[in-house]
Symmetry: C2
Subunit: 461 residues, 2 copies
């Protein structure tokens, strides 16, 4: 592996010295944190040296635009996908597909008390899932608030052994995906207790708490599909009704129908429709207003500048595996980012890496790969993929590709061979070789750049 | 410290041998889990040797009963407390009291990515809390589903350093208490975004998500206070309306008004009223039915046998700090357990230890304390307290007090002096010296029996 060399600030030297002392010290001594596992410590150099404002990488238009016609085409596809669940009449899955979690997680995992669960837990989940009765339902619905698609019908977590590097909290394998408020879904199954509903969305499926969705009538569907849509360009936006009453919280990635016949709202901003439940669990529409700083009429023109503006609001948010805590993981970041532009993205990194025009990069030597990327990738448009990870290319810096991504951590290896993670845990801007100044990272041999195996242009014809 | 001696099964010897080998081995070697921190491993002996069915300790009436008159008195007090929030006209707190979290947690804690947060997080919470505007509201409300009282208006967790024994997940210091569905509350403040409401309950206060409560009118209050009440005696009960539609999930500790003029429901079981929200966020009543196996008309006669029956359903549930995941911590276990009997308990262990007639036990030598407890405590009635912990006395076994409690873990100390926790993490029945067969526990000097500093009879006049 070619060491990634760069000018070494004094602090790197000091850091290495401190690390060496630490490693020597903990070799045989009463110990503190296990260096082989979760490594906190100061931020990696990239976070200190690279601007964390995406706009700084979009000062000049980078040619990300696709033109109005192409963007229109893509936007139509987006809407078709988004409302797809309301075109369904029955489940799109076989029972074993929908309830894959019963097989994959049949053995007891580790629970919220960090210990291995009793087998009874898995048995209870099987009973609650009622696989023999799937699919037991066929109704269209919509989410009333930000919620989650769970792999199995429970709010309890499924962890792997906390003692393994990169496992335990917050990696809850039952967390399939966050589901933003106002998402059309198709309900295809009801749990034994009725407390959970199996929801099929346009991009993923899983169990949602029954109270977080409301069923939609034909009339609702017809009115809700107003033909004009508004997307959030800020996170944590409170959506209120005309009386000032709080209805729900919306983040980038959320989409609502525009109310009225287009044209700017009297107050500036956008009048939209939002769903609430009546006392029978059926969806009813309310009017709400979104400020012009919080939302845009879709599709927002796809330019590097606009992408940078939307991305800016998402910077620094903590990493959320499967959207836990309404945070973002690597692929939900990409998906939400593209949404205001009316560009549909699937929910996981492997699928996202296959959208549009794909260029394979595996097998390329490190420097050749670097050159290929920096020569051909389009800032704010090209996606870079490595196994289990996806990043948005932003440009280059001193010959290195620079990316925007939600990253959990970097694999590390101590002198004694203990594997760990140097935690980054947020949406950040780095080179494709973050943390290489750390011996712990170097020793792991897991240079992110070397793991990149493809890049793709998701909006190419 | 006097070693607690008991007959030593062969397995204890093997266990000690294995531990010795392990301790020697990890003294200077590449390592796995840090023995000084979270210790999983096989269950402590008490869990293998003591029946985990409370009914086995109530075969004979233990004299826990208080008599009908006394229980009636206590039940009246319960109802007064339970509905207390609906007698309020304004907040019961000064701003600094209600928003104590802003001071206590002013410094950044550790977040869901396990790293220390930026100061911006604390500043944002201060803005969201609007301390200068407290109290900004004065409305009566009711919870629509099981929810949480948060110390500050956020769903994000506040952890201490994950590298410290007994810290990190799942100890979210922002989790004040679970709040069961159907709990009367008084809303005294609204957050900046309106997404959070400050709710004052009869036993605790904190922030709840706005969508989890609905406001109640005078008419609602009058009808809801039907005069007869039903308590859950099972966990995870699905409550449905007459049309079979799921409304909410109820656990032991939940209370609902009985519908109709008393007498058994036609179907057996109980007709109750449950709250749902209309589209304006106001509470509306629905009828629901509870099975006779899931609920009782309050107050359930207070006998050791009945206490054992209710406790049985709560056994084995994972420990939930502040009711996280709708689990129970040591004091919510006690509070919920006493609820069907109409016996009001405060929400934390220190307060619970002061209810009724208190007998101080600190300063007593270990054996003297043991004798005092086993001589005077009443099974299924007396509470035993140690700092931060509360237990229900069940009787004695071979001279040792036996208790039912929700316990996180036992403090341990490795040979090198590293402090850790042997995790139990559930509602269990043990002696007052669980885990003493483990050297790691012995060395810590934290024998639970020695830490018991008082006992109290919560129903004494």
């Amino acid at each position: 592996m070619t060491l990634h060399t760069r000018s070494a600030p004094i602090r790197v030297g000091i850091l290495l010295l401190l690390l060496a002392v630490l490693l020597l010290a903990v070799g045989c001594a009463p110990r503190g944190p296990l260096p082989g596992q979760r490594i906190a410590g100061p931020p990696v150099n990239d976070l200190l040296e690279l601007s964390q404002d995406p706009r700084d990488y979009a000062a000049v238009d980078t040619g990300a635009s696709v033109g109005e016609k192409r963007q229109s085409e893509l936007y139509e596809k987006f809407l078709t996908r988004f409302f797809g669940p309301w075109e369904m009449t029955r489940s799109g899955y076989a029972p074993s597909e929908a309830l894959w979690g019963l097989t994959r997680y049949a053995k007891p995992g580790f629970g919220e008390n960090t210990l291995q669960r009793d087998p009874e837990f898995s048995q209870q989940l099987r009973r609650e899932s009622r696989p023999e009765a799937f699919p037991s339902e066929a109704r269209r619905a919509i989410t009333l608030r930000n919620t989650s698609l769970r792999v199995l019908p429970t709010n309890r977590p499924y962890f792997e052994d906390f003692d393994k590097a990169g496992e335990g909290f917050p990696f809850d394998y039952f967390q399939n995906s966050a589901l933003w408020a106002g998402t059309p879904v198709f309900i295809s199954h009801v749990s034994e207790s009725k407390a959970w509903l199996y929801a099929e969305t346009a991009f993923a499926a899983g169990w949602v708490p029954a109270g977080d969705v409301a069923f939609v009538s034909d009339a609702f569907v017809e009115e809700y599909r107003s033909g004009q849509y508004v997307a959030l360009v800020e996170d944590d936006v409170s959506v209120e009704d005309p009386g000032g009453r709080y209805v729900l919280t919306a983040h980038v990635g959320a989409v609502f129908p525009r109310f009225g016949s287009g044209g700017a709202s009297m107050a500036g901003g956008y009048d939209v429709l939002v769903p609430v439940a009546d006392t029978e669990g059926n969806a009813v529409m309310k009017m709400a207003h979104l400020e012009p700083t919080d939302a845009v009429a879709m599709p927002l023109t796809y330019t590097s500048r606009n992408m940078a503006e939307v991305a800016r609001t998402m910077m620094g948010r903590q990493y959320g595996w499967g959207g836990l805590y309404e945070n973002r993981d690597c692929s939900s970041l990409i998906k939400d980012l593209f949404t205001p532009f009316g560009l549909w993205m699937p929910r996981n990194s492997a699928q996202q890496a296959r959208v549009g025009e794909v260029t394979k990069l595996d097998g390329l030597a490190r420097d050749a790969k670097k050159e290929r990327i920096t020569a051909e990738a389009v800032p704010f448009r090209t996606l870079l993929h490595s196994p289990g990870h996806i990043m948005l290319y932003l440009g280059k810096r001193e010959g290195d590709p620079v990316v925007l991504h939600a990253i959990w951590g970097l694999r590390t290896e101590s002198e004694e061979g203990a594997v760990g993670r140097k935690i980054i845990g947020r949406t950040v801007i780095t080179t494709t070789s973050p943390g290489l100044e750390l011996e712990l990272v170097q020793r792991s041999g897991h240079d992110l750049l070397e793991r990149i195996d493809s890049m793709n242009d998701p909006v190419a014809e």
